[in-house]
């Protein structure tokens, strides 16, 4: 089972490296959105500090959603996806490795650059740390949930807007608790409960999303 | 009677809620029935054309 994961992961990462532009687009979108808000709202540091968690998280949500297109579309277009479904390996496992690779390539950069963006909003140091942690736990959940949406809308015209309609409502609980934990951290309240909940989301998503995505892929391809 | 309509000053809120509910539900049923009638007519026309062409 591990060799399957390893194999898929290596393949995905090599493909991603060959298409660095896709990866960088997500990152740059994230940075631009987060940087636009102070320009629109005005540079009052107190206001910015309060809204920072929400903005960073929403931007992460949107960037994550934009990146979903590259999860299955290329493989669908050249027929690889069909072959993957036909292999004797459990499809859920293959899907999991694809999603993990996707997260490594689109989610982790967001997590790494978040502290810099947090500084733009004058977040205190301990809040920056909480922000990074919340994104670290939350972005995989976003990729996992998004994978279901990507699989359902495979090859459809108007796919981008449709996927947002399907996936954003499902993202909401993650957003609430992800931004919530940073808010709590800023006000000095206890953040443990939020983190436990976020981790619970991650565990549930890890268990339920790959099979659901596999089922969706089968439905979409037939 | 007018006291009933004003509902202690909250008339706007109450009648907006009840009114919207009634409006939406009635419209839904009317719209659906019309759609069904139109569908029946269209299907019958198609069936007549088919049987006309076949014979």
């Amino acid at each position: 089972m591990l060799t399957v994961l390893q194999c898929m992961l290596t393949r995905e990462l090599i493909l991603a490296i060959r298409r660095m532009s896709d990866v960088l687009t997500t990152l740059i979108f994230f940075v631009i959105v987060v940087s636009l808000f102070p320009l629109g709202i005005g540079a009052d540091m107190d206001t910015l500090r309060t809204i920072a968690p929400g903005i960073v998280w929403v931007a992460a949500l949107l960037a994550s959603m934009l990146a979903l297109g590259r999860l299955f579309n290329e493989d669908f277009a050249d027929g690889t996806l069909e072959q993957l479904i036909l292999t004797p390996q459990p499809l859920a496992l293959l899907v999991l490795s694809k999603v993990v690779a996707h997260w490594l390539v689109t989610g982790v950069p967001l997590v790494l650059i978040a502290p810099l963006l947090g500084l733009q909003y004058d977040l205190p140091a301990h809040a920056l740390w909480i922000l990074v942690l919340s994104l670290l736990v939350g972005t995989p959940v976003l990729s996992l949930i998004g994978a279901i949406g990507a699989a359902l809308t495979l090859g459809l015209r108007g796919g981008g807007v449709l996927i947002s309609l399907l996936v954003l409502p499902l993202y909401v609980p993650v957003l609430i608790f992800g931004a919530g934990v940073v808010d709590a951290g800023i006000s000095g309240l206890d953040t443990q409960a939020h983190f436990w909940l976020l981790s619970a989301f991650l565990v549930v998503a890890l268990v339920l999303s790959p099979p659901a995505t596999a089922a969706a892929l089968r439905i979409s391809i037939e | 009677m007018s006291e009933f309509f004003s509902m202690g000053g909250y008339g706007f809120y109450i009648w907006s809620s009840f009114g919207m509910t009634l409006l939406v539900l009635v419209c839904e049923v009317i719209w659906l029935s019309r759609r069904h009638k139109a569908l029946l007519q269209r299907l019958q026309r198609m069936a007549r054309l088919d049987s006309g062409a076949g014979s």
């Binding site: 279901i148 359902l152 809308t153 459809l156 015209r157 108007g158 449709l162 309609l165 399907l166 954003l168 409502p169 499902l170 909401v172 609430i176 919530g180 709590a184 309240l189 409960a193 939020h194 659901a212 089922a215 969706a216 439905i219 979409s220 037939e222 | 009933f4 509902m7 202690g8 909250y10 809120y13 109450i14 907006s16 809620s17 009840f18 919207m20 509910t21 939406v24 539900l25 839904e28 049923v29 659906l32 029935s33 759609r35 069904h36 569908l39 029946l40 299907l43 019958q44 198609m46 069936a47």
Partner: protein
């Protein structure tokens, strides 16, 4: 008594059932609504001080919210049955339920907004129940959008069914978000906190139940009318449809 469940699982045999029962459902809905509204306005006491009549909104708000959750569950139920047994009719039922479910969710949000404005002073609040009811609306709309976006009816049915299943988690959240264990903790700052069926006076409860039944009968009627159209549209060209059209002339 052995019921042949699969007897009605074909559109051909179920259509007459649907067709004949619509007037009955509609009739009972209207009757129950009249009774319910009469009870709501004239037999329930003026509960709050200063004769605050706005509380009457709950007689259409709570039943609408209940229906929105119930219809989603029923839709998801038919989705599961369709996915397991591969019966076209189950998927048609689910598709027929979605718009009515969306409408009740919309009504629950609309009336809830007016209720909130009068009793808490705000048109909207991001407490768990309201937020997830809104998400429920998006789930219904998403179901309809996904189904419409896919041309192949089989793929459309199954993809939308899967989506409906994924969204089921919403309903328990809405339902249980009021029974908060610790009202003082972070997650339970909810406006809906104090509503609980047990402590409501019986006449109010009766009116709510009657209105809920009225809504339920209405849902049957509306969903069946829609289902009729869906069945004819999807099965056009088949023998039973042609026969039906022939009999209608």
């Amino acid at each position: 008594m052995a019921i042949n469940w699969f007897k009605y699982s074909s559109p051909a045999s179920f259509y007459p059932v649907v067709d004949r029962t619509i007037p009955w459902f509609m009739g009972s809905a209207v009757l129950l609504a009249i009774i319910g509204l009469y009870l709501s306005f004239f037999t329930t006491p003026d509960v709050l001080q200063d004769q605050k009549q706005y509380y009457r909104i709950i007689f259409i708000h709570v039943p609408a919210a209940w229906m929105s959750m119930w219809l989603y569950l029923v839709m998801a139920g038919w989705a599961v049955i369709g996915l397991i047994f591969n019966t076209r009719l189950s998927f048609m039922m689910a598709t027929a339920l979605a718009p009515t479910g969306a409408i009740f969710t919309l009504l629950a949000l609309w009336t809830g907004s007016f209720w909130g404005r009068t009793s808490w002073g705000t048109w909207w609040d991001w407490d768990p129940r309201l937020t997830f009811e809104l998400i429920l609306l998006f789930l219904f709309i998403g179901y309809m959008a996904l189904h419409t976006a896919i041309d192949d009816p089989r793929r459309a049915d199954r993809a939308a069914a899967l989506l409906a299943l994924v969204g089921v988690f919403c309903v328990p959240i809405i339902y249980y978000s009021v029974q908060c264990p610790d009202p003082n903790s972070l997650n339970c700052r909810a406006l809906h906190q104090t509503s609980s069926l047990r402590s409501i006076e019986s006449s109010i409860l009766t009116s709510m139940m009657v209105m809920t039944l009225a809504y339920w009968m209405y849902s049957f009627a509306a969903v069946f009318i829609r289902l009729r159209s869906i069945m004819l549209e999807r099965e056009k060209g088949s023998d039973w449809v042609n026969e039906l059209l022939g009999r209608m002339k």
